[in-house]
């Protein structure tokens, strides 16, 4: 239940898996993403509503063959250059994309968490997403005859999230902006949660989200594991790091140097609890 980060990734993430690392600006599981890079996972289908810097890094490191997403960018800064290089030039490997809207992705997780094969929604109508994404269909309401949009459930092989706390039995507590993480964990076959700290007792907090240990496969204590995003109550978002990513990621050589020092270098791995 309680594992080290490198053990958690080794046991739960396999080559070819569909993997969701969710987080909506807040609580992004960045250290877990770096450990996936260190362990050299390949051919992953990466899923996330808002792929940002850590997905740019996973894509640039060659871990992914497909990305399922609704908005890919460096929030407040600009484009993801490794993502662009993969789509436009197939570097380092070609990247297939499956593109949705936020509403569609959120509903796909909800269907996955609910044990349903698809979700019904009002959305996508009239957009070019319909003709470019095969996983968007229409369905007729059996009661009113109204035409609505259907999207298939998302059930990742493994969902990875970061939370503030867990107890020793593996119950997870998170608060602040919790995005789509609960749904992504409930939709997944396996889940890994990295946390700021493991405590004896979880003190109840207003507005908290609790993931009972029975829906969590493994928990790893990784203090700072969401940096450069933030962990409400622990540390602030490092906006400078998001800006600094832009020049690093523009160029393949500077990206390769960054990988070597910040991910594979001993200090980065030790800081993140990797191997």
């Amino acid at each position: 239940m309680i594992v080290s980060l490198d053990e958690g990734i080794r046991e739960l993430v396999r080559d070819g898996d569909t993997v969701a690392l969710e987080g909506f600006t807040h609580l992004i599981p960045v250290s877990a993403g770096h450990e996936i890079i260190r362990q050299g996972r390949r051919d992953l289908t990466l899923v996330r509503m808002t792929p940002d810097v850590v997905y740019d890094q996973l894509i640039g490191a060659g871990c992914a063959r497909k990305l399922v997403f609704s908005w890919g960018g460096n929030p407040g800064v600009g484009s993801l250059h490794r993502f662009r290089d993969a789509i436009q030039n197939g570097w380092p490997v070609p990247l297939e994309i499956e593109e949705h809207s936020h509403a569609g992705m959120a509903n796909r997780y909800v269907a996955g968490a609910s044990g349903l094969p698809f979700a019904v929604m009002r959305g996508y109508t009239g957009t070019d997403l319909v003709s470019h994404t095969p996983n968007i269909a229409t369905v007729e309401c059996p009661f009113t005859g109204e035409r609505l949009t259907a999207v298939p459930a998302l059930n990742p092989d493994v969902t990875i999230i970061h939370a503030q706390r867990a107890d020793r039995r593996g119950n997870v507590q998170m608060w602040g902006i919790t995005g789509v993480q609960k749904e992504a964990v409930l939709a997944a076959r396996r889940s890994l949660v990295t946390v700021e700290e493991i405590v004896d007792e979880l003190e109840p907090l207003p507005g908290q989200v609790i993931l009972p240990s029975r829906v969590v496969t493994a928990v790893a204590e990784v203090p700072g594991g969401a940096r450069p995003s933030y962990a409400h109550g622990y540390y602030e978002r490092d906006n400078g790091a998001y800006q600094a990513w832009d020049p690093i990621s523009r160029d393949r050589d500077s990206f390769a140097r960054w990988l070597e020092t910040d991910v594979f270098g001993g200090a980065g791995a030790a800081r993140e609890g990797g191997r």
């Binding site: 909506f24 600006t25 807040h26 509503m49 808002t50 997403f69 609704s70 908005w71 890919g72 960018g73 929030p75 407040g76 484009s79 993801l80 993502f83 662009r84 789509i87 436009q88 593109e99 949705h100 809207s101 936020h102 509403a103 959120a106 509903n107 997780y109 909800v110 929604m121 009002r122 959305g123 996508y124 109508t125 009239g126 957009t127 070019d128 997403l129 470019h132 035409r147 602040g176 902006i177 919790t178 995005g179 789509v180 609960k182 749904e183 507005g207 933030y230 409400h232 602030e236 978002r237 906006n239």
Partner: protein
């Protein structure tokens, strides 16, 4: 109120967008210019403006301008923080939001918006971030306001990809698609304001900012721009508006 002549085209665009918000409207706010305009409105003429960010913060009242849609200051100042699926399913989809603000990488004469790709989808010239919340914001808000700098690169005859539907092919096309919100009611640029024609739904220049000519607007538009016979002139921003705006942006 005193007026000043020393302001940038981005500043008058933002102040004009803030004027479009009033009272206790529920406003779906995206990051960047829309967030700046909504926060300016809330600090000047619309203190009851109810701001929703797609991260799940309802009624956020940030003391500083957030840099991302999920900054901690939004959660700390919100009436409530809800899961992302609820943002779209419980709030946006049933039509509870009065106005949605959208940006655009390309926009056409019927206010259809592209934020996905420049060039061919399979072999793009420029890959953009994609849809995010925009398609359903454009579909379901009671009305949509677009904020975008005007140029021939952006104001194109035909968008390379319809990410968010404006008025489709014009006329009744939007209603025929079954979209329930009214769609883009205003496009606010650094040169002026465009509104859809009541019948054809083609964007028509209805207002220009001080110091801007109709020819400037035509030169920055990739189609033969319709101009209203009752063309208005945007009022200059007040000193107070500019002071509040600059305090927000730190410029």
């Amino acid at each position: 109120m005193s007026t000043v002549t020393d302001y940038t085209s981005d500043e008058i665009m933002t102040v004009t967008a803030a004027h479009a918000l009033s009272g206790a409207m529920a406003c779906f706010v995206g990051i960047g210019l829309p967030s700046t305009a909504a926060n300016l409105a809330r600090r000047t003429h619309a203190p009851d403006l109810w701001m929703i960010y797609e991260s799940g913060t309802l009624g956020a009242k940030p003391g500083t301008l957030p840099l991302s849609i999920g900054d901690g200051v939004l959660a700390e100042t919100a009436d409530t923080v809800i899961p992302v699926p609820e943002v779209f399913n419980y709030w946006l989809q049933p039509g509870r939001i009065d106005v949605g603000f959208l940006g655009a990488a390309q926009i056409d004469r019927y206010a259809n918006i592209n934020t996905t790709v420049i060039g061919d989808y399979g072999d793009p010239k420029v890959r953009l971030p994609g849809a995010g919340g925009a398609p359903e914001i454009a579909a379901s808000c009671r009305e949509v306001i677009v904020i975008v700098r005007q140029s021939r690169r952006t104001f194109v005859e035909s968008v390379d990809f319809v990410t968010s539907v404006g008025h489709g092919k014009g006329g009744t096309d939007r209603a025929d698609l079954g979209l329930r919100g009214a769609g883009p009611s205003r496009v606010i640029t650094d040169l002026g304001v465009l509104e859809p024609d009541p019948v054809t739904r083609e964007l028509t220049l209805v207002q220009i900012h001080p110091g801007v000519s109709v020819d400037d607007a035509r030169a920055a538009t990739g189609w033969d721009l319709a101009v209203s016979p009752d063309l208005g002139r945007t009022p200059e921003p007040t000193a107070e508006e500019l002071a509040v705006l600059r305090a927000l942006t730190g410029k």
